[in-house]
Each structure stands twice: as C-alpha cells, then as structure tokens.
C-alpha cells in the first residue's frame, strides 16, 4: 500500500465507528450518514499529508462535522442551519425570566432514566442541529468541553449553554412523554 493509504488506515479507519455515529446523529438518517462519512473520508484522505499526528480522533470528527454541515446545506436547504435564530430565542427566554428557575419540580430523575429508548432517540433527533451536535459530541463521543469547542468552532461558554439547553429540552420532553 502507498504511504498515504497506510497512513489513512492508521489515522482514519480506527475512528470510522465514531465518525459514523456523529454523522448519523447529525443527519438523522443512516444512508445519509454513510454518504457523509464516505465524503469525509475522501477529504481526510486528500488531507492526510497535512495531519500533524495529534489527536487523530478529534481531527476525523471535525472533518465529519464540517462535511455534514456542507452536506446538509446542499441537500436540505437552509432550514436545518437556522440555529442562530433558535439560540437567540432561547437566550431571550433565559433573560426574560429563566427556564432554570421555573422548571425545578419535574421531571423526576427516575422518570428520565426509565425513558423508552425510541422516545429518547426521537427527542434527540428533534433537537436543533447545534444543540444536538454538542450533546452527541459530549455524551456519545465522550469529548471534553475544550475539544467540543474546537470542533464546533465556538467558545467554551457557548458549548456549556448549548449542552445545558439540549439536556434541559430532553428532560422536559421525556417527562412530558411519560405522563
């Protein structure tokens, strides 16, 4: 095998499963996820010479993430990317009185933990794209705030608020579904 291919096999292929998981959650569709991963792998292959041997997994995931965004814009119009608006709305809600202060009584942790898997997956799929990606990078890929901030190109504070809001939405959703 050529040097590039050996390098690709060592750097990219070990993270194919993680790449697929991320693409799957971003695209919310298995076959689109495969297309995204394939395209991302080609990008990675072409760029393998420029990879600096630091944090292969983060490098692969950020390529998958960027490929997914391009792909989604191309195939699904602008509506998936209208998250800036969502964030402003959310922020307005927080400033106006605080979702934090108003929702402490329910749902109970036990209710959340017992949540039906299909429902939970559905609730995650319904999250706005940027909340969803932050949650998935944290809970599925197990990345820390700094790594998530680097991959998504936002400050750590934004990662924190997105993560908290994503979780809050799921908690409320799961509590509502169960009753």
């Amino acid at each position: 095998m050529s040097d590039e291919r050996t390098r690709f096999a060592n750097v990219v292929l070990p993270h194919l499963g993680d790449a697929y998981a991320l693409a799957r959650w971003l695209a919310r569709n298995d076959s689109d996820a495969e297309d995204i991963v394939q395209e991302a792998c080609l990008r990675a292959f072409r760029g393998i010479a420029g990879f600096g041997n630091i944090n292969a997994r983060g490098w692969v995931l950020s390529i998958v993430r960027n490929t997914a965004y391009t792909w989604l814009k191309r195939h699904r119009d602008a509506k998936v990317v209208a998250v800036d608006n969502v964030e402003e709305v959310e922020q307005a809600g927080v400033d106006a009185g605080g979702e934090w202060a108003s929702a402490p009584a329910s749902p109970e942790a036990a209710l959340i933990e017992r949540a039906d898997t299909a429902r939970l997956e559905g609730a995650i799929a319904e999250l706005p794209l940027e909340f969803r990606e932050t949650l998935v990078l944290r809970e599925v890929e197990g990345l820390d705030y700094r790594a998530i901030a680097e991959i998504t190109g936002v400050p750590i504070g934004t990662v924190m608020s997105r993560l908290a809001r994503a979780r809050r939405r799921l908690m409320v959703q799961l509590g509502r579904d169960a009753t």
Binding site: M1, Q38, Y145, G157, M160
Partner: protein
C-alpha cells in the same frame, strides 16, 4: 486541561445550574467541585438537576450501540481511497459447509498435508478464547511486559509470536498462553480493553479467511502478514476489535 476547567467554572459562575452540568461532565477542578458539592447539599434544586443529568446520561448509555460502522461502509471507504480488499465474502451457509467439510477431512490428516480451513481455525480460536475466560486465568504467563512474554514462548513452541505494545492506545498486554489448534500448539497473546479481553493467535501458514466472522457474541478478525496468519477474537464491539487489529498491524515489532 486545568485551563479548560478554569474556563468552565469561570464561564458558569453566574449560573449555578451550568456549574452543575460542568460538574457532571468532570470539567471542574477539585476546589470548585468541592464547593459545588456543598452547594448541592444545601440547595435541593441543584441536587435534582445533577440527578437528572446523570439519569439522562444513563438513559443515553443504552442507545450508544450505534457507534459501529456498518461493514459495507468500511468496504466503500476502503474502495474509495483505493485500498485493497476482497470483493466477495463467503455467505454464512458456505462458511458453515466449509466447517463441516474441513472437520470431515481433517480427521486423520496431518498439519503438513492439509492446513485446516479458515472457518475451522476461527471456531477453534473462539473456543480457546472462551476456555481462557473460564479458566482461573486467561493466560499461562501473566505480564504486561512484551520483553517477558515473548521469551516465555521460546523453548515451549518452535516460533515465538510477534508481540507489540499497545498500552498507550488502551489495549494493554496482559499475558500469553499456548493454545491448541488442529492438534498443533500455537501462541496466543492476551490483551485487555476496558473490562474485556482480546486474544490474538498466531499461526505459521494457514489462510486468514474469512476476514471477519461473528457468532455467539464473539467476533474474529483474521489477516495474513509475512507468511503468518493472525486471528484476533473478542466479545468487544466489532469496531473496537477492528481498531485493535489496525493498531496491532501498524505497531512496530518488539525487539528481543
């Protein structure tokens, strides 16, 4: 890392709930974590938030099984970048038939006359792995030092196996043992991965086929290199086993 932790606590200082999230994510330094634990003890709203976050995480843990790339995707990717791979895989029924056939033929046949079929080897590799799991210990020599494990095989079997150090990648060497496949003693290495074990059996000659085989909760990945066939078996996710194999193949040989 500490910088990230400091950032996390700085960023959240205005919002105790954000701090609880950072706490659950292990992003607080010890002093801030301790301070928050005190606050949570006093403020039930914060404690409830922590419980919910952890409950959500446990619920999400149940849907994590998707981080395995479909084999067809791996194949597509490998083809797309021009890596070689076999185009056709044997079907299950064909593999089953070859097990029966090989079992029938190998009665009375010696190793030198007829090497066992890949499917037969795969079955025996799995059996040896399971036997290892059920034994008092899954190895004959226990050592995380490749310089101890490799020489141990010398004098017991004709050829000592290739031993590599993958501890830095999360697959520490645990030990080695001698297995028997088709009446021949062969070296197996045992690596750890989280709470699981991975056995790698090395055989002189032999055909590493089928490249991937899964049955009864065990996966076997086989490959050839330098006239030797390797067989990795484990109950870890196929993708994790593939990762191990890729690292094993790429790792430099240990000097004697």
């Amino acid at each position: 890392m500490t910088q990230a932790s400091n950032n996390a606590s700085d960023r959240a200082s205005g919002d105790p709930f954000l701090l609880v999230h950072a706490y659950c994510d292990g992003e607080l330094d010890p002093a801030n974590a301790l301070a928050l634990e005190r606050r949570m003890a006093e403020d039930p709203r914060l404690a409830v938030e922590r419980d919910r976050i952890l409950a959500l995480r446990r619920a999400m843990g149940r849907i994590k099984g998707h981080s395995v790339a479909p084999p067809a995707l791996r194949a597509k990717v490998e083809r797309a970048v021009g890596m070689r791979r076999p185009a056709v895989r044997p079907t299950w029924s064909a593999m089953a038939a070859s097990v029966v056939l090989a079992a029938a033929i190998s009665v009375g046949a010696t190793w030198s006359v007829l090497a066992p079929s890949g499917a037969l080897v795969a079955d025996e590799v799995v059996s040896n792995h399971i036997r290892g799991l059920m034994a008092a210990q899954p190895y004959d020599v226990a050592s995380s030092d490749e310089h101890t494990v490799k020489p141990w095989f010398n004098g017991r079997i004709p050829v000592s196996p290739r031993v590599v150090n993958l501890a830095g990648d999360g697959f520490p060497l645990i030990g080695g043992r001698i297995d028997v496949i088709a009446k021949m003693p062969v070296p197996s290495l045992v690596y750890g991965f989280r709470k699981h074990l991975i056995s790698v059996t090395e055989m002189q000659g032999g055909r590493a086929s089928p490249p991937v085989r899964s049955a009864g909760g065990y996966h076997v990945i086989a490959w050839n290199a330098g006239g030797v066939s390797y067989w990795a078996v484990s109950d870890v996710e196929l993708d994790e086993l593939q990762k191990f194999v890729t690292l094993f193949q790429a790792a430099p040989d240990t000097e004697k």
